[in-house]
Each structure stands twice: as C-alpha cells, then as structure tokens.
C-alpha cells in the first residue's frame, strides 16, 4: 500500500509544483519507489520542473479515458532511480478527470509504489478536490503572506470535509505545513510573518521551511528539481523536509537571520 501525499495550497504561485517535484525526488533518492502525478489538467507544469517535457506522450487523462495504459503514460525520471512522473493533459479541460478514474489509477499505482505524490492545481475547484480526495497526508504549501495563509486555511477546511477519509469517517488526513519563500531577513525587520505566527494561525504541524532562494529559479530554469542542488539552502531544506516525512527528527534550519559580523562580512558567507 502506497502512502498518498497531496501537495496543495489554494493559492497559486506559492511553490506547489516546485515542492511536489523536490519532495518526490527526495523520497526517491532515499530509495522509496515514488510516482508524482500532475493534477493540473490544462495547465501542466510538473513536466517542465522535472525536465521531462519533451518525453510526454500520454497523460493522466488518456489513462482515465482508456486511450493509453498506465505504463505507457508513466515517464521514468532520468536522474533519479525509483522515480516516475505521470503528466497532466495540456489540452483537455478539467472535466475530463473523474473520481472513479482517479481512484482506479491510484489503486493501480498503489501496488507498485511506496509513495504517490499528487501535485494539486491552485484553487478549490474540482481539480484541487480530486487531487486531495484520496490523500492520506497533505502538505499545505504556504508563503509568509496574508492571502496565502488565508487560502491555506480554506484548504484545511476542505481536507477535513471533502476527502475520502473525512466522508468515510476514517482517521483524518494528516495535515502538514510547508512554509516556502521564507526570508529571515525580512522576518527580522518585522515585515514578514514569522513561522511561529503562521503555525499559530493555521494550527498544524510544521514539516519544513524553505528559504527564499535563488536556487529555486535556477532549478526550474534547468528542469532539475532543486533537491539535486545539494549545495543550496533550498535543496537542503527540502531534503530535511523529506527526512521528517520519513519520520526522522531534523532540527529546523535556514529560519534565523544571521547578523553579518565583521569577519563574515570580510570572508563572505553569502547565500548560495
């Protein structure tokens, strides 16, 4: 039985796809058989972030409509063993996804994988609800910014009511907070919500904190998930996040503003 993890947020542009790509890559690097599914039908992007856009032949909708087999649609990641990508369709509209179809695909994948990571579209409409419906765990990606936090709370409401676990009265979906684009510098100066405030408002457990980092754009530019950039702060922060998902205790990093002292100003120590 695979663990199904949905990466969701409500608000767009907060780093869902970046996080889904980075986390699934991390899970696979740790030896877990992992598949990451793009649920954003019509606006697919996961293939770009994973760097496999030119290898997409069939997609999730093709599989659900019976036009292709699951194995034809799954793309094997070239960099990471144990990792597969199931792209979304670029041409069909979101109505092409059905609850039964998604359930069948997830059931089949469950037999062959340890982790199924669902990259949710933005919004709270059908696509987002389908992405979360069968989830065991949810990673709620949140920026330290008012609209993102509010939307995350909306998503928490949906996770508690519009999921299979909620509807069937099973244990609730495990909700975890992933704060992205965190800038300790601005937090220190009082112009950005700090992580304790965000946690207090949303009242869910923090699974990771990703600092605002130049490495993220570099990674998406080149189509290599940032997890592979092991030197970068964001890459390390995602690896920590994956370790925590796997049950390890990892102290939080990259959340403290480092006052640049005299020596470090001379000898560098800039952010990579």
């Amino acid at each position: 039985m695979a663990r199904i993890i949905v990466v969701t947020s409500g608000k767009g542009g907060v780093g869902k796809t970046t996080s889904a790509a980075a986390i699934s890559t991390g899970l696979a690097l740790k030896g877990n058989r992992t598949v990451v599914i793009d649920f954003d039908v019509g606006l697919r992007n996961l293939d770009l972030i994973m760097g496999c856009e030119r290898r997409v032949v069939y997609d999730l909708v093709n599989v659900i409509q019976g036009e292709a087999g699951l194995n034809q649609a799954l793309i094997r990641d070239k960099r990471t063993e144990n990792l597969h990508i199931l792209p979304a369709s670029q041409t069909r509209d979101k109505e092409a996804l059905t609850l039964e179809g998604v359930e069948q695909v997830l059931e089949k994948l469950s037999e062959d994988y340890d982790y199924i990571v669902c990259d949710s579209p933005a919004g709270i409409e059908r696509g987002a609800q389908l992405a979360m419906y069968f989830a065991d765990e949810a990673i709620v990606v949140t920026n330290p910014e008012v609209s993102s936090v509010r939307d995350s709370d909306r998503i928490l409401g949906l996770l508690a009511s519009r999921t299979r676990r909620a509807e069937q009265g099973q244990d609730p979906v495990v909700e975890r907070l992933l704060i992205t684009r965190y800038n300790p510098d601005r937090v220190d100066s009082g112009d950005m919500l700090n992580l304790d405030d965000i946690q207090e408002i949303l009242a869910i457990k923090l699974i990771g904190l990703i600092p605002e980092s130049e490495a993220v754009l570099r990674a998406s530019n080149s189509g290599v998930p940032v997890t592979h950039d092991e030197q970068s702060d964001a890459g390390q922060a995602y690896l920590d996040t994956v370790d925590r998902l796997l049950g390890e205790e990892k102290p939080l990093r990259f959340h403290q503003f480092e006052k640049k002292g005299f020596l470090s100003r001379i000898f560098g120590g800039g952010r990579r």
């Binding site: 910014e145 008012v146 936090v149 509010r150 709370d153 909306r154 409401g157 508690a160 009511s161 937090v187 100066s189 009082g190 112009d191 950005m192 919500l193 700090n194 405030d197 408002i201 949303l202």
Partner: protein, 84 residues
C-alpha cells in the same frame, strides 16, 4: 508632535498587522467551516426580509448554528438601530 506620530507608526510592524488581520479572518472562516452550505444564503435572505421592515446594516445580523446531542439550534441576533 509629528515626530512622535512618526515614531509611533514605525513601531507597529507590518507583520504584526498581518497576524492580527489573519487571526480575525481565520477565526471567522473556521466558524463557518462546519455550517451547512445553505447558511450564507439563509443569512442573506433573512437580512432581506428584516430590511423590508427596519433599516439595518449589512453586518447587523449574526447567525449561527450550534449542534447539541440530537438537536440543532439556529441562533439569530439582529442589532436594531435606536429609534430617534
């Protein structure tokens, strides 16, 4: 005096304003979370009916649904303006 105002304003950082605003809006969102879907509509229509008789503000009506064991209580609070 102006300098004092300036210093005072500086002290209120934007992040703490953000936090206060979020706490209010999230509390409001959560109170609506377990409500049935018809509640916003019911609230609007009730307000409409009341307004046919009394001039009240948009936010003068407060409606909540509480469940206790085997019954639900619909509580309706309307602030009427002073007759003057």
């Amino acid at each position: 005096m102006k300098l004092l105002d300036f210093l005072k304003r500086e002290r209120k950082k934007s992040a703490s304003v953000a936090k206060e605003r979020l706490q209010i809006i999230v509390a409001h969102q959560r109170s609506q979370r377990d409500q049935p879907d018809y509640m916003p509509m019911l609230e609007r229509e009730l307000l409409e009916v009341i307004r046919r008789y009394v001039e009240v503000d948009q936010d003068a009506i407060n409606i909540s649904l509480d469940s206790e064991d085997d019954c639900s209580i619909l509580e309706l609070n309307v602030t009427l303006p002073n007759r003057s």
